[in-house]
Amino acid sequence: MIRTTITTEAFRPEAELNAFMESRGDHIGAIASFIGYCRTSSAAGTVKHLELDHYPVFTEREVARLADQIAERHSLDALLVIHRVGLIPARDPIVLVAAQNQHRAEAFAAVAEMMDYLKTDAPFWKRESGPDGARWIEPTAADYARRAEHAK
């Protein structure tokens, strides 16, 4: 099962992961997961909050399309993607990705690839606000390099 959610609401990765674990079939040997949090500081200094813009309908469709591609490429039994948008206070979770497969290699690869796609290919725009104002965060060269390693 593939589930992708774009939400302006705070979410609890613990609860989501628990449900994802519970839902697994008997043949599942591996669950890999990743949680991304809003840090309280970045290269640019203190962060009070992030603001994540998205393009309603288009963003949902693109994230679902990327998730389908990755689930198929890695023969996943289940893939969960939750991405928060809007105003995100420091320390809050931003994104959760989790994958189920019989074997670990596919589960790991799927989660890492989904994150790499989200960083560079999914229609989100991220602005960091601190005491010195706000600035847009765009992908780094390292983000693009990691993304380029995956098959199209």
Binding site: L52, F58, L118, K119, P123, F124, K126
Partner: protein, 84 residues
């Protein structure tokens, strides 16, 4: 009438997230749309001329500057994306 949408730093440059315009008849391609906006508002236009700002017409990313945007009801200006 065409709705223009601005995201990320394009939104800052536009000072708004959307704008309803009447595109003139001679604006056919992505390149022409950028030029037209640049004439109307040089400050916004100079940001939107950057090729790293991609254009999507009715939820489809325009693959080149020559892609037609004619007849689109919604055109989005999208700087480099970054989620996660």
């Amino acid at each position: 009438m065409t709705k223009l949408l601005f995201f990320g730093r394009a939104r800052d440059a536009a000072g708004c997230s959307e704008m309803i315009c009447d595109l003139p008849a001679n604006v056919e391609t992505v390149a022409e749309l950028r030029s037209w906006l640049h004439q109307r508002d040089p400050e916004l236009g100079s940001v939107l001329m950057a090729r790293d700002i991609r254009v999507a017409a009715d939820h489809t990313i325009c693959v080149s500057e020559a892609t037609s945007v004619r007849g689109a009801s919604e055109i989005a200006f999208m700087p480099p994306m970054s989620g996660g």
